[in-house]
Amino acid sequence: MEAIFFIILSIIIIFSSMMVILKKNPIASVLFLILALFSTAAMYVMLMAPFIAAIQIIVYAGAIMVLFLFVIMLLNLKKINEGGAVTLKILGVIVAGLMMVVTAVVLRSVAIPADSGFLRSSPEGFGTVENVGMTLFTTYLLPFEIASFLLLAAIIGAVVLAKKKL
């Protein structure tokens, strides 16, 4: 059952991610990106992390992508101009293809040890709000606080750069 859901979700995610770069209309790209992010949230639910799933939808699908859409609508990009020479494109395809082959070979050749973090199963109540909160505010308190300074810098920076008159 889980495997079926996983395969369906994976197909949706991969398909929509591909469409993000294949679609020429930026609005369609954004919509497919939303779909990809949304399906990723579903994947989190399957990984017993409902909190992260909700945050994924609220933050990425619900807020950030709206701003993407916003900017694209304001710029009124209808179609992306196809710049670049054909040789460049062919070169790009070759390089990307080679990268994919190399990555595939490396990843396939790897035997994942049983004690590695990839295979560790999550403890009971792993992704619930209570546990995430508890971990965040005890073990990972410091990263949490640093992240708040990071966001402060980003907010101030955005205002500094965007505001005409400071």
Binding site: F118, T139, I146, A147, F149
Partner: protein
């Protein structure tokens, strides 16, 4: 969940963090026209943080369950960041007023950048390291574009942001793979995993470490990940350039030592070969590009690429001498660069975006003190004996020889000889070239004090390199 926080371990960071909020509020409350309060608060915060850093030197131990370290290594770098930031901030108001970008946010962003760097140098966990790096980078992206009305500044900011975000992806992917393999982001856990594994680079570990290294090399501006730095350095406001060319580079090297030094020493990972090629390319490319520059800012940008290459030798050597040499080198290099950039913008007379070497003409007679100081910086960057730059190079090179990287050191020494040409050209212009229509320099006491301080530090550390080197060696020992 029991976890000992041990707040003294992040004493410096606590002061800086409180300082950020304080500066923000101070600037908000003291009106629109006057930035003096923000300026003074920033300097006070930096000094206070420095005092805490020195008071707690190397004695604070691990904090937050081994996520941060307040050891000697962290203290050493934190002091370096604070000193560089202090000097940069100290002479900034002049520049900011001249270019009409005198906003309080400038000081706050520099403080946040320093905060990020201090977390990079004291990180005991990849998570902390990554957050520190991003905090630093985000502030720098904005600082690079702080001169909003100039297209070049915008270009600089945008290039830095886009490429930085791109390479952050590599870094994060590397961290994710390492986490997947080890099951922890803690550096101690990673080291013990590497030590206990029969095939330490097997699985995803090798790929993960390589991607992590790529991310770091980008921040160090090492070939082949250097292409952003000349344009970014050139377009950014000059004090920011001075800051960027010294402090983030040191932070990236600090993080590299933190993450890789222990495994490299104890396990002999085969990473010196990769770094060998990168170092050789970086030194040569930076050097020959610097030769062709007519703008002092771009020349110094390429020179900073070259210096990253020299530092890579210490990293590739992977021994104690190399690491302590790097610490010494980075500490002194910051002073040289800040001094050189500061004089450069004072001398500049055609406005931003036009930093010509010829602006230095007749500086020897127009302002002998500045000319002398500039000569000291140039000579020190070249690596002429009694100055600090010489000893930095000496230690790093001899570490390379000790590690058997003879050919790499030969390449580096040959390149040092080439670099004499472009560093000394500045002096030649200052003392020998005649030019029409030169004006007296603007009177800027803070700039003069900054330059004199930098010059003094370089001279003193050059004449008496012992204490600083001992301190560096002690700091490196705290890494193991």
């Amino acid at each position: 969940m029991n976890i000992t926080y041990n707040l003294p371990a992040i004493g410096t960071q606590l002061v800086l963090g409180a300082g950020v909020i304080l500066v923000l509020l101070a600037d908000l409350l003291t009106g629109k026209k006057n930035r003096d309060v923000a300026y003074q608060t920033t300097l006070t915060v930096l000094v206070l943080a420095g005092i805490i850093c020195v008071m707690k030197w190397g004695s604070a131990g691990a904090g937050f369950g081994g996520q941060v370290f307040g050891d000697g290594f962290a203290s050493f770098f934190n002091l370096a960041f604070l000193a560089i930031a202090f000097l940069v901030v100290f002479n900034s108001p002049n520049y900011l007023k001249r270019n009409e970008i005198d906003h309080g946010e400038y000081y706050m962003l520099i403080l946040i950048a320093v905060l990020g760097m201090t977390f990079m140098s004291s990180a005991g966990d990849l998570l902390i390291f990554f957050l520190g790096l991003e905090t630093m980078s985000i502030s720098l992206y904005v600082l690079a574009g702080f001169h909003k009305s100039r297209a070049r500044s915008n270009e600089s900011s945008l290039k830095y942001l886009l490429l930085g975000a791109f390479f952050t992806g590599f870094l994060l992917y590397g961290i994710a793979l390492i986490y997947g393999q080890v099951g922890s982001t803690n550096l101690a856990d990673i080291t013990s995993y590497l030590a206990g594994s029969a095939n330490p680079l097997g699985g995803y570990m090798g790929v993960g470490l390589a991607l992590l290294l790529v991310g770091l090399l980008f921040k160090m501006a090492v070939v082949p990940f250097h292409f952003w730095s000349p344009d970014v350095y050139d377009g950014a406001p000059t004090p920011v350039t001075a800051f960027m060319s010294a402090a983030p580079k040191a932070a990236a090297f600090a993080a590299a030592l933190r993450i890789f030094y222990d495994p490299a020493i104890s396990l002999g990972l085969p990473w010196d070969k990769t770094l060998w090629i990168a170092a050789a390319l970086t030194i040569t490319l930076g050097n020959f590009a610097a030769l062709a520059q007519s703008s002092i800012k771009r020349m110094l940008a390429y020179s900073s690429i070259t210096h990253a290459g020299y530092l890579m030798i210490g990293l590739a050597a992977g021994n104690e001498l190399g690491a302590s040499g790097m610490l010494y080198y980075l500490f002194t290099y910051g002073f040289m660069n800040v001094g050189a950039f500061t004089i450069a913008w004072l001398v500049n007379r055609r406005g931003e975006g036009n930093y010509l070497l010829s602006d230095f003409a007749q500086l020897g007679s127009r302002n002998p003190v500045m000319a002398l100081l500039m000569s000291i910086f140039m000579l020190s960057l070249t690596g002429i004996p009694p100055l600090a730059g010489f000893f930095g190079k000496l230690y790093v090179f001899s570490a390379g020889v000790k590690a058997g990287l003879i050919w790499l050191v030969v390449i580096a020494v040959l390149n040092s000889v080439v670099s004499v040409f472009y560093y000394l050209r500045v002096m030649v212009i200052m003392y020998m070239r005649e030019e029409e229509g030169l004006k007296d320099l603007e009177k800027a006491p803070t700039v003069a004090i900054t330059a004199i301080l930098c010059g003094l530090v370089i001279l003193l550390l050059g004449l008496f390199p012992g204490p600083l080197l001992d301190l560096a060696r002690e700091s490196v020992l705290s890494l193991l």
